[in-house]
Protein backbone atom coordinates (compact mmCIF):
# COMPACT_ATOMS: atom_id res chain seq x y z
CA UNK A 1 0.00 0.00 0.00
CA UNK A 2 2.70 2.46 1.04
CA UNK A 3 4.84 1.54 -1.92
CA UNK A 4 1.88 1.92 -4.26
CA UNK A 5 1.09 5.38 -2.90
CA UNK A 6 4.71 6.40 -3.19
CA UNK A 7 5.12 5.28 -6.80
CA UNK A 8 1.82 6.89 -7.78
CA UNK A 9 2.84 10.16 -6.16
CA UNK A 10 6.34 10.01 -7.61
CA UNK A 11 5.02 9.41 -11.12
CA UNK A 12 2.53 12.24 -10.85
CA UNK A 13 5.11 14.62 -9.39
CA UNK A 14 7.64 13.87 -12.12
CA UNK A 15 4.99 14.08 -14.83
CA UNK A 16 3.72 17.40 -13.56
CA UNK A 17 7.29 18.66 -13.29
CA UNK A 18 7.77 17.92 -16.98
CA UNK A 19 4.44 19.57 -17.76
CA UNK A 20 5.60 22.70 -15.91
CA UNK A 21 8.62 23.19 -18.14
CA UNK A 22 6.96 22.14 -21.39
CA UNK A 23 3.64 23.97 -21.10
CA UNK A 24 3.29 26.63 -23.82
CA UNK A 25 1.11 28.90 -21.74
CA UNK A 26 2.79 30.43 -18.71
CA UNK A 27 -0.39 30.41 -16.62
CA UNK A 28 -0.92 26.70 -17.31
CA UNK A 29 2.67 26.15 -16.28
CA UNK A 30 2.02 27.89 -12.96
CA UNK A 31 -1.07 25.73 -12.44
CA UNK A 32 0.91 22.56 -12.96
CA UNK A 33 3.44 23.90 -10.47
CA UNK A 34 0.72 24.35 -7.84
CA UNK A 35 -0.52 20.81 -8.38
CA UNK A 36 3.03 19.56 -8.17
CA UNK A 37 3.57 21.30 -4.83
CA UNK A 38 0.34 19.91 -3.41
CA UNK A 39 1.40 16.40 -4.34
CA UNK A 40 4.81 16.97 -2.80
CA UNK A 41 3.00 18.01 0.39
CA UNK A 42 1.13 14.70 0.37
CA UNK A 43 4.46 12.96 -0.04
CA UNK A 44 5.74 14.79 3.06
CA UNK A 45 2.74 13.55 5.03
CA UNK A 46 3.55 9.98 4.08
CA UNK A 47 7.07 10.66 5.38
CA UNK A 48 5.55 11.73 8.73
CA UNK A 49 6.63 15.35 8.33
CA UNK A 50 3.24 17.00 8.82
CA UNK A 51 4.57 20.41 9.75
CA UNK A 52 6.75 20.68 6.67
CA UNK A 53 3.83 19.49 4.56
CA UNK A 54 1.55 22.19 5.88
CA UNK A 55 4.26 24.83 5.50
CA UNK A 56 4.81 23.64 1.95
CA UNK A 57 1.14 24.24 1.11
CA UNK A 58 0.95 27.49 3.04
CA UNK A 59 4.14 29.16 1.84
CA UNK A 60 4.73 27.60 -1.56
CA UNK A 61 1.27 26.93 -2.92
CA UNK A 62 -0.47 29.72 -1.05
CA UNK A 63 2.23 32.37 -1.22
CA UNK A 64 5.09 32.04 -3.65
CA UNK A 65 3.10 30.61 -6.54
CA UNK A 66 0.39 33.24 -6.14
CA UNK A 67 3.19 35.77 -6.56
CA UNK A 68 4.31 34.02 -9.75
CA UNK A 69 0.74 33.96 -11.00
CA UNK A 70 0.40 37.69 -10.38
CA UNK A 71 3.57 38.47 -12.28
CA UNK A 72 2.71 36.13 -15.16
CA UNK A 73 -0.71 37.69 -15.44
CA UNK A 74 0.57 41.26 -15.23
CA UNK A 75 3.43 40.79 -17.64
CA UNK A 76 1.07 38.88 -20.00
CA UNK A 77 3.38 36.70 -22.07
CA UNK A 78 1.32 36.60 -25.24
CA UNK A 79 3.77 34.54 -27.24
CA UNK A 80 6.58 32.38 -26.06
CA UNK A 81 10.04 33.77 -26.86
CA UNK A 82 11.76 32.07 -29.78
CA UNK A 83 14.10 29.26 -28.99
CA UNK A 84 17.73 30.14 -28.70
CA UNK A 85 19.71 29.28 -31.77
CA UNK A 86 22.31 27.29 -29.86
CA UNK A 87 19.84 25.07 -28.00
CA UNK A 88 21.94 22.01 -28.84
CA UNK A 89 24.85 23.31 -26.84
CA UNK A 90 22.60 24.12 -23.88
CA UNK A 91 21.12 20.64 -24.04
CA UNK A 92 24.53 19.04 -24.03
CA UNK A 93 25.68 21.11 -21.05
CA UNK A 94 22.51 20.17 -19.22
CA UNK A 95 23.04 16.49 -19.87
CA UNK A 96 26.60 16.76 -18.66
CA UNK A 97 25.51 18.49 -15.43
CA UNK A 98 22.74 15.97 -14.84
CA UNK A 99 25.29 13.18 -15.27
CA UNK A 100 27.59 14.77 -12.72
CA UNK A 101 24.76 15.08 -10.21
CA UNK A 102 23.72 11.48 -10.80
CA UNK A 103 27.29 10.30 -10.26
CA UNK A 104 27.43 12.36 -7.09
CA UNK A 105 24.21 10.83 -5.74
CA UNK A 106 25.39 7.32 -6.56
CA UNK A 107 28.66 8.06 -4.80
CA UNK A 108 26.81 9.31 -1.71
CA UNK A 109 24.60 6.22 -1.58
CA UNK A 110 27.62 3.99 -2.21
CA UNK A 111 29.78 5.43 0.54
CA UNK A 112 27.09 5.91 3.18
CA UNK A 113 25.41 2.54 2.81
CA UNK A 114 28.53 0.94 4.29
CA UNK A 115 28.15 2.87 7.53
CA UNK A 116 24.34 2.89 7.86
CA UNK A 117 22.73 1.68 11.03
CA UNK A 118 24.76 3.87 13.36
CA UNK A 119 23.12 7.27 12.65
CA UNK A 120 19.60 6.56 14.05
CA UNK A 121 20.79 5.72 17.52
CA UNK A 122 23.17 8.64 17.60
CA UNK A 123 20.53 11.05 16.32
CA UNK A 124 18.00 9.92 18.88
CA UNK A 125 20.51 10.76 21.58
CA UNK A 126 20.77 14.31 20.24
CA UNK A 127 17.38 15.28 21.56
CA UNK A 128 17.08 16.50 25.11
CA UNK A 129 16.16 13.48 27.22
CA UNK A 130 12.76 14.70 28.27
CA UNK A 131 11.83 15.25 24.65
CA UNK A 132 12.96 11.93 23.32
CA UNK A 133 9.71 10.13 24.01
CA UNK A 134 7.63 8.92 21.09
CA UNK A 135 4.67 10.88 22.31
CA UNK A 136 6.35 14.08 21.20
CA UNK A 137 4.69 15.35 18.09
CA UNK A 138 6.53 16.22 14.94
CA UNK A 139 5.64 19.91 15.19
CA UNK A 140 6.73 20.25 18.78
CA UNK A 141 10.04 18.50 18.18
CA UNK A 142 10.70 20.64 15.12
CA UNK A 143 9.92 23.78 17.08
CA UNK A 144 12.23 22.68 19.87
CA UNK A 145 15.16 22.04 17.55
CA UNK A 146 14.51 25.23 15.62
CA UNK A 147 14.48 27.47 18.67
CA UNK A 148 17.38 25.94 20.58
CA UNK A 149 19.99 24.43 18.35
CA UNK A 150 19.27 26.48 15.23
CA UNK A 151 18.30 29.76 16.85
CA UNK A 152 20.94 31.88 15.12
CA UNK A 153 20.29 30.50 11.62
CA UNK A 154 16.61 31.04 12.30
CA UNK A 155 17.19 34.70 13.15
CA UNK A 156 19.42 35.10 10.12
CA UNK A 157 16.68 33.65 7.93
CA UNK A 158 14.19 36.13 9.33
CA UNK A 159 16.63 38.97 8.65
CA UNK A 160 16.98 37.66 5.11
CA UNK A 161 13.23 37.77 4.65
CA UNK A 162 13.11 41.33 5.96
CA UNK A 163 15.86 42.41 3.57
CA UNK A 164 14.12 40.66 0.69
CA UNK A 165 10.86 42.39 1.54
CA UNK A 166 12.44 45.82 1.55
CA UNK A 167 14.40 45.01 -1.59
CA UNK A 168 11.31 43.86 -3.45
CA UNK A 169 9.42 47.00 -2.48
CA UNK A 170 12.31 49.22 -3.62
CA UNK A 171 12.57 47.36 -6.91
CA UNK A 172 8.89 47.27 -7.72
CA UNK A 173 7.94 50.76 -6.66
CA UNK A 174 7.96 53.31 -9.49
CA UNK A 175 9.17 56.32 -7.51
CA UNK A 176 10.01 56.29 -3.88
Amino acid sequence: MDAFVFYLLATLILGLGIMVITARNAVHSVLFLVLNFLLVAILYVTLSAQFVAVIQVLVYAGGIVVLYLFVVMLVSLKKAPELRSDSRRVGRTGLLLAGVVLAELIAIVWFTSASSGAPPAQAAADFPPRLASDAMLNTERLGWVLYTEYLIPFEVASMLLLVAMIGAIVLAKKNL
Binding site: G17, V20, I21, S29, V30, L33, N36, F37, V40, L43, Y44, L47, S48, A49, F51, V52, I55, Q56, V59, Y60, G63, I64, V65, L67, Y68, F70, V71, L74, V75, L77, P81, R84, P119, P120, A123, A124, D126, R141, L142, V145, L146, Y150, P153, F154, A157, S158, L160, L161, V163, A164, M165, G167, A168, I169, V170, L171, A172, K174
Partner: protein, 68 residues
Protein backbone atom coordinates in the same frame (compact mmCIF):
# COMPACT_ATOMS: atom_id res chain seq x y z
CA UNK B 1 9.74 28.39 -11.54
CA UNK B 2 12.32 25.85 -12.52
CA UNK B 3 14.33 26.93 -9.50
CA UNK B 4 11.34 26.14 -7.33
CA UNK B 5 11.15 22.69 -8.88
CA UNK B 6 14.82 22.07 -8.18
CA UNK B 7 14.48 23.30 -4.60
CA UNK B 8 11.54 20.99 -4.17
CA UNK B 9 13.56 18.04 -5.33
CA UNK B 10 16.15 18.90 -2.71
CA UNK B 11 13.44 19.29 -0.07
CA UNK B 12 12.00 15.88 -0.83
CA UNK B 13 15.44 14.39 -0.45
CA UNK B 14 16.01 16.12 2.87
CA UNK B 15 12.65 15.11 4.31
CA UNK B 16 13.04 11.54 3.13
CA UNK B 17 16.49 11.26 4.68
CA UNK B 18 15.34 12.89 7.89
CA UNK B 19 12.58 10.30 8.13
CA UNK B 20 15.04 7.54 7.34
CA UNK B 21 17.62 8.63 9.89
CA UNK B 22 15.07 9.77 12.52
CA UNK B 23 16.86 13.10 12.56
CA UNK B 24 14.99 16.38 12.46
CA UNK B 25 17.86 18.45 11.08
CA UNK B 26 16.70 17.69 7.56
CA UNK B 27 13.30 19.17 8.24
CA UNK B 28 14.85 22.24 9.86
CA UNK B 29 16.82 22.72 6.65
CA UNK B 30 13.66 22.41 4.60
CA UNK B 31 12.10 25.22 6.60
CA UNK B 32 15.14 27.40 5.90
CA UNK B 33 15.08 26.51 2.22
CA UNK B 34 11.44 27.50 1.98
CA UNK B 35 12.24 30.83 3.65
CA UNK B 36 15.07 31.48 1.22
CA UNK B 37 12.86 30.48 -1.71
CA UNK B 38 10.25 32.99 -0.59
CA UNK B 39 12.87 35.74 -0.38
CA UNK B 40 14.32 34.81 -3.75
CA UNK B 41 10.90 34.74 -5.41
CA UNK B 42 10.00 38.17 -4.06
CA UNK B 43 13.24 39.81 -5.18
CA UNK B 44 13.35 37.96 -8.50
CA UNK B 45 9.83 38.90 -9.43
CA UNK B 46 10.50 42.47 -8.33
CA UNK B 47 13.41 42.59 -10.75
CA UNK B 48 11.24 41.16 -13.54
CA UNK B 49 8.54 43.75 -12.92
CA UNK B 50 11.08 46.58 -12.88
CA UNK B 51 12.66 45.26 -16.08
CA UNK B 52 9.32 44.85 -17.81
CA UNK B 53 8.42 48.42 -16.93
CA UNK B 54 11.59 49.68 -18.61
CA UNK B 55 11.88 47.38 -21.61
CA UNK B 56 8.41 45.93 -22.25
CA UNK B 57 9.84 42.43 -22.46
CA UNK B 58 10.95 39.67 -20.14
CA UNK B 59 13.00 37.79 -22.70
CA UNK B 60 16.29 36.96 -21.04
CA UNK B 61 18.29 37.58 -24.23
CA UNK B 62 17.27 41.23 -24.17
CA UNK B 63 18.79 41.69 -20.74
CA UNK B 64 22.23 42.30 -22.15
CA UNK B 65 22.75 45.87 -20.99
CA UNK B 66 24.43 46.35 -17.66
CA UNK B 67 23.11 49.90 -17.46
CA UNK B 68 20.97 52.32 -19.39
Amino acid sequence: MSIELILNAVNINLVALSDQLQNLVGQVFVVFIIAVAAAEAAVGLGIIIAFYRNKETVNIDEMSLMRW
